[in-house]
């Protein structure tokens, strides 16, 4: 069953400048999807559209079989949402925030809320404004997952948290709901988080989906090529190859990213470009990200 279905979705904030452009995305039950992209790539917009916080200017969106704008309450009752800029009312105490959410979600699980509050060492009597950023985020997470939503949308939920808290936060959210078959879509700038937690990776660039495949396919499908720079072997020559995503020369070596499996890369380059002295390595996700969205692809 498709939990989230976006068809030809477009959205702009300023006329003529699409943040998302004709985007298609289908998310099935139980998937954990990491959403990657540079700042302004459209990750937050995509998640907000799915949540019904924004209205798309083209295409259609279905969340759990409903239009998130038309059936907003039905959708929101079944979706958990945490974002980096989300604020909880600072004047409320932790228990009041939880009580407030409990009344809004029919599927609220008191045991799970209690379990999470003790796991996070929450002081229920503290006011939100007295909490640290990480603690406040934990309260937001508790509120987002304690109703056991079939879909969890996390927009940079761990941004600004220290590595230990970030890991605890994400693993709590994703493992907890992942085990019960919930679908999770989360955006992050931390490649290690995505590599550790996601089963599928969607990379956005300038409002369009650039990569959408399983993490294993992404890991195996791209490689870094290192070859000595000579008058015959230049970055321009490598870029001319259809599978080359980026290439640059540094300290007498040409570094290039190819959309090829590392094992078959040497053979392909020798055949297509006549290169002999070539070393091919599989590419860490972070480097691939930098090469793809921040590098020299024309």
């Amino acid at each position: 069953m498709n939990v989230l279905e976006m068809r030809d979705v477009s959205r702009a904030y300023t006329r003529g400048q699409d943040v998302l452009s004709s985007l298609d995305l289908t998310v099935t039950e139980g998937e954990v999807i990491g959403l990657l992209g540079r700042n302004g790539a459209g990750k937050t917009t995509l998640i907000r559209l799915a949540m019904g916080l924004l209205e798309s200017q083209g295409g259609s969106i279905q969340v759990l079989g409903h239009d998130p704008r038309e059936d907003a309450v039905t959708v929101k009752e079944r979706v958990g949402y945490v974002s980096e800029d989300q604020t909880l009312p600072g004047f409320l105490r932790v228990r009041e925030v939880i009580d407030f959410h409990r009344r809004l979600y029919p599927g609220w699980d008191d045991d799970l809320a209690r379990d999470l509050s003790s796991r996070f060492h929450m002081d229920a009597n503290q006011k939100i404004k007295q909490l640290s950023k990480g603690q406040a985020r934990q309260v937001a997470l508790l509120c987002a997952v304690a109703h056991r939503p079939p879909l969890l949308l996390l927009d940079e939920p761990a941004g600004g948290l220290d590595p230990a808290m970030r890991r605890e936060f994400l693993e709590t959210a994703i493992q907890l709901l992942g085990e019960s078959g919930s679908t999770i879509l989360f955006s992050s700038h931390h490649m290690t988080d995505v590599e550790r937690l996601a089963s599928r990776l969607v990379m956005l660039h300038e409002g369009q989906k650039w990569i959408d495949s399983s993490l294993d396919d992404v890991r195996e499908g791209y490689c870094l090529v290192l070859t000595p720079a000579t008058s015959n072997v230049t970055s321009q020559r490598l870029l001319a190859h259809g599978k080359c995503l980026s290439a640059r020369e540094r300290e007498g070596t040409v570094r290039a990213v190819f959309e090829l499996h590392a094992d078959s890369c040497e053979h392909t380059l020798a055949r297509d470009l006549g290169l002999g002295d070539v070393r091919c390595h599989s590419l860490p996700l972070e480097e691939m990200f930098i090469e793809l969205v921040g590098g020299g692809r024309s």
Binding site: K76, L92, D99, D123, Q126
Partner: protein, 605 residues
């Protein structure tokens, strides 16, 4: 160096323009009260203008964000703590002094305007002279003392925590200083030297005792919020302990929840102006319809401000209709409470008010009735023909909207040469019009009126007033007024909120949203102040406009088939259409991400 420190002081950020706007609002409110009461005793007592002058600076000193005495930037400079502290004192005095100066200018100008509004013939007792010397001397001295008491508290700490104790201390100081100011204010301007001297001594002594440098935070840690025990999460709280959703929504979307209390009180007071009490009581007679734009202003300000923070709730399964109800519902309840309060007051107050009287004096001779019972005509006032064939052309035809506008006139005019029959006939008609009771003309003639041998008809010397003679008389209600008021307020509010909601769509910047919000507030406030300014410019007559609307509402009740019921149906139908449009736009609106500085618009409300 001192100038640079003051310019960089956190108190002088442009955002404090909002406190200046609060000054204008307070000035307007007090002017409104003065205009409403027009009461010599009230105004000549020094505490009234003193409170006006003092209210906003005192609020700022009690609740304002002056706990930050210096930025870290200033603390890192090789400057003694005394310089940094002096810069803070200067900034605080500049800010609050500016508020006082603006209030003084606004109120002084306003009082001049009020003076031009008041007819010296009708109200010779009204004296709007400001006791300027007492006002300024005590206002300034106690303000200086209050500021000194605020800044000498832990002067070496650059940023004090704004906790409950902080607020409590400052509210206590403000209350004590206010009591001192009002108490000594009665003793004359010379006593202002006492608080002034104390303030100077405190400031000098504190400045001398400061350590070499200031610290960013207090040395001792703040007390823990709880005893340290982690409270377990219980199951659902019982209903009486649960915080209502609407309250959470309103508090969370307000930057200064304390202002909500002020707003609630204001709405209750405005609700009173909708009630019969305002229509019938002497002091409220001039308010009435003037408050229509002000109520729309408040409704719009209180509904529009939270929109900038509604994103807090956008991901929750709260329907847009429910959110809208959370924003508007409580305001309507407060208005209704005020309205009911006014109606209850009306039950007590009406018997004391005489609505139809008679004057035997030459310059105001004849049947007297409150202008609220005047009639409206679009041409020349109709001529009354009495039972004896006598005709009466109402004099003093009043055109509140200028020479081309409708005419207000007293339909029961009795000229000086009227016969006894004609006077009694007009009196009987007036009684029926005002009280809805048909009293026999002969009885009125014999009991109250007398013929003089060489002069006009007079009220008998031994005759009681009408209400004394007929204690059961009750003035008729203006049954068409309330639906008209509700309709006008509703239309103004709905129009403003529809325009503003139109700014919550893609492509609209925060800045343009704020500009739209402020512009709409200015327009609504303009409607409110327009009669006042027209009056100053001698271009219109606010009181006449008020009575004109009363007369039109009376006329509509008689002209519209179905009377007040039909008027209510029309008003509700029109507002229901507006409500549908507002809901539709509210449902489609996209709330911007919450920003910390969005409290800017709140204080305008």
């Amino acid at each position: 160096m001192m100038r640079v420190l003051i310019r960089h002081h956190p108190l002088l950020r442009p955002v404090y323009v909002k406190w200046m706007l609060l000054v204008l609002a307070t000035g307007s409110l007090w002017l409104g009260i003065v205009a409403m009461k027009l009461h010599r005793e009230l105004f000549s007592m020094p505490w009234v203008p003193m409170t006006t002058l003092w209210l906003v600076p005192a609020l700022f000193l009690a609740l304002g964000p002056h706990n930050q005495r210096a930025r870290e930037f200033a603390l890192t400079l090789p400057l003694p703590a005394r310089s940094v502290w002096r810069a803070h004192v200067s900034a605080l005095l500049l800010t609050t002094g500016g508020m006082m100066a603006l209030t003084l200018a606004f109120v002084t100008y306003g009082v001049l305007g009020l003076r031009s509004l008041i007819d010296p013939v009708e109200r010779p007792d009204v004296d709007l002279t400001i006791p300027l010397l007492t006002l300024v001397s005590h206002g300034l001295a106690w303000w200086l003392l209050l500021a000194a008491l605020v800044v000498i508290h832990r002067p070496a700490v650059a940023e004090l925590p704004r906790d409950r104790a902080w607020y409590g201390r400052h509210l206590g100081l403000v209350a004590a200083a206010y009591v001192g100011m009002v108490g000594l204010g009665f003793l004359g301007p010379i006593t202002a030297l006492v608080p002034f001297a104390v303030a100077i001594v405190l400031l000098v002594l504190t400045g001398r005792r400061l350590p070499a440098t200031m610290s960013i935070a207090p040395r001792e840690p703040a007390a823990a919020a709880t005893s340290g025990a982690r409270m377990p999460l219980s199951a659902m709280a019982p209903w009486w302990r649960r915080r209502p959703v609407w309250m959470t929504v309103i508090q969370a979307t307000s930057k200064h929840p304390a202002l909500l209390l002020v707003a609630a009180i204001m709405l209750i007071l405005l609700g009173v102006t909708f009630s019969g009490w305002t229509v019938f009581s002497d002091s409220g007679e001039h308010l009435g319809v003037f408050m229509i734009p002000m109520i729309a202003y408040c409704l719009f300000a209180l509904t529009g401000t939270p929109l900038l923070k509604l994103a807090v709730f956008d991901h929750l399964p709260l329907s847009r209709s429910r959110l809208l109800a959370c924003l508007i519902g409580p305001q309507l309840v407060f208005l209704a409470v005020g309205f009911l309060g006014g109606e209850i007051a009306l039950i007590r107050e009406i018997p004391a008010v005489e609505m139809v009287t008679w004057s035997n004096e030459d310059d105001i001779y004849g049947l007297r009735m409150a202008p609220r019972y005047f009639a409206v005509s679009w041409g020349d006032p109709p001529v009354n023909v009495g039972p004896d064939g006598m005709q009466s052309t109402p004099p003093n035809a009043w055109r509140p909207l200028g020479p081309l506008g409708p005419v207000l006139y007293k339909p029961f005019h009795v000229p000086a040469d009227a016969s006894l029959e004609f006077a009694a006939w007009q009196l009987a008609r007036a009684v029926e019009h005002v009280y809805g009771a048909s009293l026999p003309m002969d009885e009125l003639r014999d009991r109250f009126l007398a013929e003089q041998s060489d002069g006009p008809i007079v009220w008998r010397n031994d005759a009681p007033t009408l209400r004394e003679a007929y204690p059961d008389l009750r003035p008729q209600r203006f049954r068409g007024l309330l639906p008209l008021q509700v309709l006008l307020v509703g239309l103004l509010f709905q129009a403003a909120i529809l325009v503003y909601l139109g700014r919550f769509r893609p492509g609209v910047t925060d800045r343009s949203r704020k500009v739209a919000f402020v512009a709409l507030l200015v327009i609504l406030m303009g409607f409110y102040l327009a009669p006042f300014f027209f009056s100053l410019a001698k271009a219109g007559d606010p009181a006449g406009l008020n009575f004109l609307i009363l007369a039109v509402s009376n006329l509509l009740v008689t002209v519209v088939p179905g009377g007040p019921v039909a008027m209510w149906i029309v008003a509700i139908a029109v507002l229901a259409v507006g409500d549908h449009l507002v809901r539709q736009r509210f449902r489609r609106a996209e709330w911007p991400p919450v920003r910390e500085d969005d409290g800017f618009c709140e204080v305008l409300g």
